[in-house]
Subunit: 138 residues, 3 copies
């Protein structure tokens, strides 16, 4: 079974979509042992992270914004791909460092995530986007 | 076939578990073509790296400790999630940068790793932990 | 179906090999739903990135060369694994940060990549190499 989820982001930051994938697995994944996720973009990422304390998501975003500052930052003067603004190339760099594909095991018709693990779409562009995640159950 | 391995870590650093996965594949993976690994935690990672010279593991740890210093470091003053101590949020950040899931091909009933590749559990917390890795053979 | 592609690199930088995988999928992947890619080395990486503007690849390389400078750089004095020269350990570090395995969904007998996504081999060593990528269709 393969389907495409559409995740709406509100600009840079993390959006959890564990329930959407969990629902898919419950409906179609009774016989499956693996959910393979793939995001069809090069300026956002998939991420599995703690979903208990929202500070974790804020701190993650703060870290990656310091690791890869906007192209306006003097430290990023060497960047040449600037067609779509100062968040364009930094978004590609973050998308190289963070996952484009993820596999999550399925056990007993449910995602076998750890107690604190949630599935996130990490938007790296400043503006809101609709992002497509292909989910394949195997 | 799906099973959960328990890897005991001795605090921050890399623990190789290639033989455990190799043994599983030899016992149950005769017909399989892929081993999918998934770690059920958000403060440690999976990693495939050189297992010939132990200096590689030491240098990897040294790099990531400089890239993401403890929360006590003045450079990390902006971190807000500190519930479990100065290694808490840095462990989550390292777990975002390094893999939570990995796929290794199986050929002829054995892991098709390169000559120098080993499978590691990279512990990011200071204290020893028992870590669960779900292995799915497909 | 499982096969090994050989990618020839011309030293550090990104080499696209989307057409080679697309051809494999068209020939053997009519019934497949997933292409799993695995690189059998610890000093190069797989990467999915924008293949429209070549500046993106140049900027990506520039970023990672600044993030992980050669071992000759004073900032990297702490590195101990130097057997194969100043690009040896930095290549292992880049190979830890960037993907060793990737999954791409297959739909209608073709790779279901996004409009701007291309498959790349990211060489981290200075010298040209022949790199092996195992492709498993599921």
């Amino acid at each position: 079974m393969q389907t495409t989820l559409r995740i709406h982001t509100r600009g840079a930051g993390l959006t959890e979509f564990t329930p959407e994938v969990q629902a898919l697995v419950e409906r179609h994944g009774r016989e499956a042992s693996l959910a393979s996720l793939f995001v069809q973009h090069t300026s956002c990422s998939l991420l599995i992270q703690e979903n208990a304390d929202p500070d974790v998501c804020r701190d993650l975003r703060a870290f990656f914004d310091r690791m890869v500052p906007d192209a306006n930052d003097p430290a990023m003067r060497y960047l040449t791909h600037r067609a779509e603004g100062p968040d364009d190339m930094p978004a590609h760099i973050k998308a190289a460092v963070l996952p484009v594909s993820l596999n999550v095991p399925i056990a007993g018709g449910a995602l076998a995530l750890g107690t604190w693990q949630g599935l996130y779409l990490f938007e790296h562009r400043s503006a809101p986007h609709e992002r497509k995640v292909v989910v394949t159950l195997i």
